[in-house]
């Protein structure tokens, strides 16, 4: 059965950043250089081809874009400057939009203004909300104590509610991702046992990003790992140890040590990334989508205000600390609420998932082939 | 028998006798011959025995004129004998010159010929299966017949020949000219023609002497046997589709056949320098066939039955496709 080609798709992808895919004439250099390109996953060439021909259904079920960490080798090697790396990046953006049932992700990717607006609105609501709450039950001059402006206990509750919402949103999208890439694939059926057997892959990829290490230059991997781990550490601290984090002015090294380290990690990496994107030094930093900027800016603001809040509190400048806390929240809330389920942050979930799925599918395909050629099952 | 007279012998091999008659046909010239020469052997006109010739000294004969081809051992024996006894040996007539009509037999195996003549012939008594054999013993007598060779040879395939006189038969006029030339040469009255030359004929093909008009346009859609068509006596026979060997045949006969409405059959042999008369006639015929389509050409050629026997009617023995010697 013939697949319908949609020449228009390529125009749509331009907005997601894929400007040069039509230049590709399939010499295959990109796949030759890519460390991840290995049967049955030929990247980035196959995705490039599907995109050129506008095979939407095929692309939607495509895991390959997620297998790429964007080291940029392919783009450097490309004789036609077709930017395969950026094309994969754009496809990840497009897929993120596809997975998201709300359509918000799509809106953000298609219009930077919309995203900006959303962030501002959410920030204002968050700011207003926390101010009202603070004044309603405490004093702006009190950071800690019974009369605290924003007591950790209550913020904690807010955090958990927010987390729940996030999980719900992200969960749904991940489920959709599974459906598109594995669930509805009639060719390959992955047995439940396999899911269980291979579940370890998820945390492994999530925490180590070992595949990224395969890329030629190791530095990007280190940076990416540090950023990710700092973020996760911070997330854990906030979700489970908010009280101790908030406590003070005495420093509780058992938690604050982690807090400071994580913050440092976040600040350093985000600044490095910002500089790289500004300098366009390497291939993978040359094309920056608005969402990339938004993501970095939010992150750096969060980290900075977080650190500032910590310091002000220690200096006993409670009022300033409280004000800064509100500002901090004005950055945190939109970041979590918008970036995590609807934008760049989501790849924190999608990529490990994709690798997990890819592994499962690959295993299935191989064993299928074995049956086809009548060879004995894996020995 | 005065010594100043030339000593000549005239003999026939596998021949019809027409050649001897052509010499007789020279009328009064015969008497000239008689004046100039002693005829030591001429079976058709005088009495003579093998032993008379055998008795002669080598080269005693001034001229030996032999007509007919070599079909059997007797022909060959006599050819050798006369060659040995004569100074000048002349192959007289088409059979001696090229094998002639008898050599058409070379297109058929000897066995076939015997069968046709002695076994499957309509005029045979029923049950008569007698076949000639070289040797037969009958009531104590040994009978001998000459051996019937597997094929017919022209004279020079058997013995060394000095001169050739073509024609079937040579025209009396030509015979007269030839013989006169020889006599004059032998009596020192004239320069002898170079050995191996054809005497009593011309250097060009028959068309040179043919009165019929020849047009540039020679295109034939079919061929006719002479009786199949009311011919125009003024026009080249080939142009009328009547196969005529004249263009490939040495002139000298006086164009008798074409003048009387009969196509030339080539008895005077090929034009000087031509290897095979048949092959040349073949080219000539092909040149006038009016078609460019293989199938049509075959159609047209159906009207030309048994072409080979026409093309090489007098010259099968002379064909390059034949054995060239017998010793």
């Amino acid at each position: 059965m013939a697949i319908r080609a949609n020449p228009k798709l390529i125009t749509e992808l331009e907005i997601y950043g894929a400007q040069d895919v039509s230049k590709c004439y399939h010499c295959g250099n990109c796949s030759a250089t890519c460390p991840f390109s290995k049967e049955p996953y030929i990247l980035p060439r196959r995705s490039m081809r599907s995109l050129q021909m506008g095979l939407e259904a095929k692309l939607e079920s495509d895991l390959e874009p997620w297998l790429c960490y964007y080291c940029g080798e392919c783009s450097t090697e490309c004789p036609r400057d077709a930017e395969p790396g950026e094309t994969m990046m754009s496809l990840r953006r497009w897929l993120t939009a596809r997975y998201d049932f709300t359509g918000i992700a799509r809106l953000f990717y298609l219009s930077a203004k919309a995203e900006m607006l959303a962030v501002i609105i959410v920030a204002l609501i968050a700011g207003a909300g926390f101010l009202l709450y603070g004044f309603s039950q405490g004093s702006i001059t009190q950071y800690g104590g019974p009369n605290a402006f924003l007591p950790a206990s209550s913020v904690h509750i807010f955090d958990w509610t927010l987390a729940a919402v996030l999980l719900a949103l992200l969960g749904t999208n991940c489920a959709r991702m599974w459906w598109f890439t594995v669930g509805r694939d009639t060719k390959v059926h992955v047995p439940l046992s396999a899911y269980v057997r291979k579940i370890y892959l998820l945390p492994m990829h999530f925490f180590t990003q070992m595949r990224y290490a395969k890329c030629e230059q190791k530095r990007p991997w280190v940076l990416h790992l540090v950023l990710m781990l700092s973020y996760v550490t911070m997330l854990v601290l906030i979700m489970f140890f908010l009280e101790s984090m908030w406590s003070g002015p005495a420093i509780n090294w058992s938690v604050h040590a982690f807090g400071l380290a994580a913050t440092a990690g976040l600040l350093v990496t985000t600044i490095v990334f910002l500089r790289k994107r500004l300098k366009k030094s390497e291939a993978q930093y040359q094309q920056s989508h608005e969402t990339d900027w938004m993501f970095l800016v939010l992150l750096i603001v969060v980290a900075a205000t977080g650190l500032l809040q910590f310091t002000l509190h220690r200096l006993g400048l409670d009022t300033a600390a409280n004000v800064n806390y509100v500002i901090h929240m004005m950055a945190v809330v939109p970041m979590l609420l918008l970036e995590v389920p609807f934008s760049k942050w989501s790849h924190m979930a999608y990529r490990p998932l994709a690798m997990y799925f890819a592994d499962l599918k690959a295993e299935e395909m191989v064993s299928k082939e074995r049956e086809a050629v009548g060879a004995p099952q894996a020995a | 028998m005065a010594d100043d007279k030339l000593q000549i012998a005239i003999y026939w091999g596998a021949a019809c006798g027409g050649c001897d008659v052509s010499i007789l046909d020279t009328d009064a010239f015969i008497l000239e011959i008689d004046k100039a020469a002693d005829i030591r052997l001429w079976p058709i006109a005088t009495d003579g025995k093998y032993k008379d010739i055998e008795a002669l000294a080598d080269g005693e004969l001034d001229v030996a004129i032999m007509s007919g081809a070599v079909r059997n051992s007797e022909n060959e024996r006599m050819a050798h004998l006369l060659r040995q006894k004569s100074k000048v040996f002349v192959a007289y007539g088409s059979c001696a010159y090229m094998g002639g009509i008898p050599s058409l037999a070379n297109l058929v195996p000897r066995e076939e010929i015997i069968k046709r003549a002695y076994l499957s012939n309509a005029s045979l008594e029923p049950g008569n299966t007698t076949v000639p054999r070289p040797r037969t013993s009958l009531n104590g007598y040994d009978l001998e017949l000459p051996e019937f060779y597997p094929r017919v040879y022209k004279l020079d395939q058997v013995v060394d020949v000095d001169y050739y006189v073509p024609g079937c038969p040579p025209q009396p006029g030509q015979a007269q000219i030839a013989i006169t030339a020889l006599v004059q040469a032998l009596t020192g009255q004239a320069e002898a023609p170079p050995k191996g030359s054809v005497v009593g004929a011309y250097e060009r093909a028959l068309c040179d002497d043919c009165k019929r008009t020849k047009a540039e346009e020679k295109k034939v859609k079919r061929f006719y046997r002479p009786w199949e068509i009311m011919q125009d006596p003024e026009v080249c026979l080939m142009e009328q589709g009547i196969l005529c060997a004249g263009s490939a045949t040495r002139s000298g006969c006086g164009v008798r056949c074409p003048d009387s409405g009969i196509p030339c059959r080539g008895c005077y042999g090929p034009a000087p320098g031509v290897v095979d008369q048949g092959a040349k006639l073949l080219s000539a015929v092909a040149s006038i066939i009016d078609s460019k389509v293989a199938e049509d050409i075959d159609e047209i050629l159906l009207t030309l039955p048994d072409f080979t026997s026409f093309a090489n009617r007098y010259s099968v023995a002379a064909s390059p496709l034949q054995r060239s010697h017998r010793r």
Binding site: P7, L55, R80 | G246, A271, G273, V275, A284
Partner: protein, 574 residues
């Protein structure tokens, strides 16, 4: 003839001959032949040292005949004839034995090959013994040229010849100049206008005092030979009644061009049935008119261009038509500018982008977002009408090899890149000027590499797409090369023609006139007075038909006499 001295020179041709044939063995076998005074081998006989060696030996052994056993005489006979001439020997005292093309290159068994080479060389030795000294004839070279075909090639050649002050008759079948180029809009890769290019040529040709443009004219007859052709051209007079006129020319250039492949022969494409499937030339027409639309008059949203229509497949033409790929890219550009926002797809087998600026043009075409879809030879895409629900008029099913997918490509307008084929009158033209055609009907050049404009008939040249599919620059180059060849000859004023022709020995001719009709060049004349035929040597092209046909062996072919061929037969069979 008894004191004849023959030199035999066996060429190794580097290893081309020597690797299969034992050249020394050949020498040994020919040395024993009568008259052979010297026999040598050398690595390259055609090289200067090789030729010097031959000349030196001619001096030293005062040879009077030379045999060169080497490549085909069609390759180097002229070279070695010159060598003999330099050494003061008549060039026709040379005979070549073809032991490369017809021996070392085609046989692998060294023994058999060597034996054959020896036989061929022996034949050459025996033949050359009977060679006669022949003098080439020199005749006046008529400076006029007839050019058949008023396309870009014809006009370009005409201008060069006319500018040099020679008269040119430019015969064109149709009622206008320009040929197929006049049907094009822009040209690849620089997208400059074919029209502008042509207008310049046409105006110059029409206004040129030395060029007679004969429109609606056909060449009816060509007689004569190089330097002295008599041609009859039939022109359609104004009243419609055709009138023949005679033109004397010294050279002829055939520039009859090509005809496009008939797309309806490929049923898969539904040309003639689906209204919006058009040929490249129909698209050119739209582009020239500046409006690219579907039959319904709408601007097409999807335009698909199918390559190799009639070319590069088993069913029709195996050859590549050479210009379609780049023309298709040109369409991608033109369509996108004519219909902004249109999606153009190129459905191709291989992208042949050879030639100046072409690879870059290919790149530019992909930069303007042309979608390239690759299909296998002989695995035709199939076009069908789309359903009412589709946003397009047609759907093209392609087994796309780069993705390995079978896809359906939407299309509102399909352009078929029809290939080039030989014109249906090419056979007629070939017979008219007596040149040969290859199996596809293209005219054959005298040497594919070294002599691509001349033909096997001296004085007749070919240029442009009548010789093989060609683009404009190549056609023009070939045309101007042909013009240059002619100018080089006309400059000399006189021209040498081959000394080889037939002769009638009037002592033997009986005037049977069998030969008269045979000569295709009416070179045989019958003298009614003498009742003899004779050959007009200048008209004779030495085919030898009359020689073989003469029933009384009165005609001889110089350099191909019975004696020479007989001894060659004896030689190969010895």
């Amino acid at each position: 003839m008894d004191d004849l001295k023959i030199g035999v020179f066996v060429c190794n041709c580097g290893t081309n001959i020597a690797k299969v044939i034992d050249c020394d063995a050949v020498i040994d076998s020919v040395e024993r032949l009568p008259y052979v005074a010297v026999a040598r081998t050398y690595k390259y006989m055609c090289s200067d040292p090789g030729q010097d060696m031959i000349q030196a030996d001619i001096e030293e052994y005062d040879l009077d005949r030379v045999v060169v056993a080497a490549c085909s005489p069609r390759m180097h006979e002229p070279t070695f004839r010159k060598a003999l001439q330099k050494a003061g020997l008549n060039p026709y005292f040379l005979e070549m034995a073809n032991i490369r093309e017809q021996c070392s290159w085609v046989h692998d068994d060294p023994v058999a090959a060597t034996e054959k080479a020896a036989a061929l060389t022996a034949a050459a030795v025996m033949r050359v013994a009977h060679h006669e000294a022949l003098e080439r004839r020199s005749v006046d070279m008529c400076p006029n040229t007839l050019i058949i075909g008023g396309g870009i090639a014809g006009m370009s050649a005409a201008l060069d010849l006319a500018d040099a002050g020679n008269r040119v008759y430019l015969a064109e079948r149709s009622d206008h100049l320009g040929g197929n180029v006049a049907r094009a809009d822009l040209t690849a890769p620089y997208l400059d206008s074919a029209r502008d290019m042509l207008t310049e040529r046409v105006t110059r040709v029409v206004e040129h005092p030395n060029i007679d443009v004969l429109l609606e004219s056909q060449v009816r007859k060509v007689d004569g030979f190089v330097g002295n052709f008599q041609t009859i051209i039939r022109a359609k007079a104004d009243d419609g009644a055709p009138s023949d006129s005679v033109y004397d020319v010294g050279s002829i250039i055939v520039c009859t061009g090509y005809k496009e492949f008939d797309a309806s022969r490929i049923t898969h494409y539904g040309y003639g049935k689906l209204p919006n499937v058009v040929t490249s030339f129909e698209l050119e027409k739209m582009l020239r008119a500046g409006r690219v639309t579907t039959k319904e008059g709408k601007a097409p949203q999807y335009v698909a261009i199918i390559h190799c229509v009639g070319s590069r497949n088993l069913e029709f033409h195996a050859y590549c038509s050479r210009v379609c790929c780049m023309t298709a890219l040109k369409y991608a550009h033109e369509v996108k500018s004519a219909v902004p926002g249109a999606y153009v797809s190129d459905i191709y087998i291989d992208m042949h982008a050879f030639g100046k600026g072409m690879e870059d043009f290919y790149r530019r075409s992909s930069e303007i977002k042309t979608l390239f879809l690759m299909y296998e030879k002989n695995d035709y895409p199939v076009i069908r009408k789309a359903d009412a629900t589709d946003d397009c008029d047609m759907l093209i099913e392609v087994n796309e090899t780069l993705s390995g997918e079978t896809i359906e490509m939407p299309a509102d307008l399909v352009v078929l890149m029809v290939g080039m084929e030989a014109r249906e009158d090419s056979e007629e033209v070939a017979h008219l000027v007596n040149i040969s055609r290859d199996k596809d009907g293209w005219f054959i050049e005298s040497h594919p590499k070294l002599d691509p404009v001349a033909t096997t008939t001296d004085g007749v040249y070919i240029a442009g797409a009548c010789q093989a599919p060609k683009d404009i620059p190549d056609s023009v180059a070939q045309a101007r090369a042909a013009a240059a060849r002619i100018l080089a000859r006309t400059a000399l004023g006189r021209i040498d023609i081959d000394a080889v022709f037939a002769e009638v020995d009037e002592e033997k001719c009986s005037g049977c006139r069998m030969c008269n009709e045979l000569c295709p060049y009416v070179a045989i004349e019958f003298d009614a007075e003498k009742r003899r035929s004779h050959v007009i040597s200048a008209l004779c092209k030495a085919c030898g038909a009359c020689v073989a046909a003469c029933p009384s062996g009165a005609i001889t072919a110089r350099h191909f006499t019975d004696k020479q061929i007989f001894s060659e037969i004896e030689g190969v069979l010895a």
